[in-house]
């Protein structure tokens, strides 16, 4: 099972900060994962595709075409602001 993490406003949109998901044979990249999530929740899909969102797989920032599997942790990060 892949671990999905949602931060900030994306956690509100996803209805939780974390979920587990079996990626199956169809989800091979971050883009595929977003498409699968969008098929279930179009608003969440739009939010995850926003240009300001960063994708982090196993604690490394990646592009949308990055390959993923069931052993991975995939995090979705909206714009951050500390201080």
């Amino acid at each position: 099972m892949a671990r999905l993490l949602f931060f900030g406003r994306l956690a509100d949109r996803a209805g939780g900060r974390r979920r587990e998901r079996s990626l199956g044979d169809d989800v091979l990249s971050v883009a595929d994962l977003i498409a699968a999530l969008a098929a279930e929740d179009a608003a969440l899909g739009d939010a995850l595709r926003d240009i300001s969102v960063k994708y982090v797989v196993n604690e490394t920032v990646v592009g949308v075409d990055y390959p993923i599997g069931d052993d991975d942790e995939i995090a979705f990060l909206p714009p951050a602001s500390g201080g």
Binding site: G8, D12, V56, P78, S81
Partner: protein
């Protein structure tokens, strides 16, 4: 040193600890950021909720510190950043920079704060008497950080 604080901390004690740990610095500059009483939605702030990405957030801060150490001759940097639920008046962030001379310490502290505002991985939600709002970096925050690219 980078510390993510889950509960309230005392910036005065943080500064004293920094001074004690870095006795050779000719200059120490510190900054304390606090929780405002007025929310961006114009209401009265009740809670500022801060979340982070454990491990990854610390590394995002370390990258800012590394950039400051490359740019200025500084001896030590300490950053304490709160997460969790904060009340108005509580300290959110403490930054201390020690250096042989004041100009480097002043500029590096300014730089670190500008980048904490735009690059550090924290997410803030204001909960006021009017509702809840996620806070994005403001245009001025990006302008402040861009000053260092000139």
């Amino acid at each position: 040193m980078i510390t993510i604080a889950e509960s309230a901390f005392d910036p005065a004690r943080a500064l004293e600890a920094f001074r004690a740990a870095n006795p050779g610095c000719g200059a120490i500059v510190s900054f304390v950021g606090g929780v405002r009483a007025r929310a961006y939605d114009g209401g009265s702030l009740e809670t500022l909720r801060l979340e982070h990405f454990p491990g990854v957030t610390e590394r995002s801060i370390a990258a800012i510190v590394d950039a400051a150490c490359t740019r200025w001759e500084i001896s030590a940097v300490s950053i304490v950043h709160r997460v969790g639920d904060l009340a108005p008046g509580e300290a959110v962030v403490f930054v201390a920079v020690g250096a042989p001379h004041r100009r480097a310490a002043l500029e590096a502290a300014d730089f670190v704060m500008d980048y904490l505002k735009t690059e550090a991985l924290f997410w803030k939600k204001e909960i006021s008497d009017r509702g809840e709002t996620w806070i994005d970096p403001r245009g001025d925050d990006y302008k402040d950080a861009a000053r260092w690219n000139d």
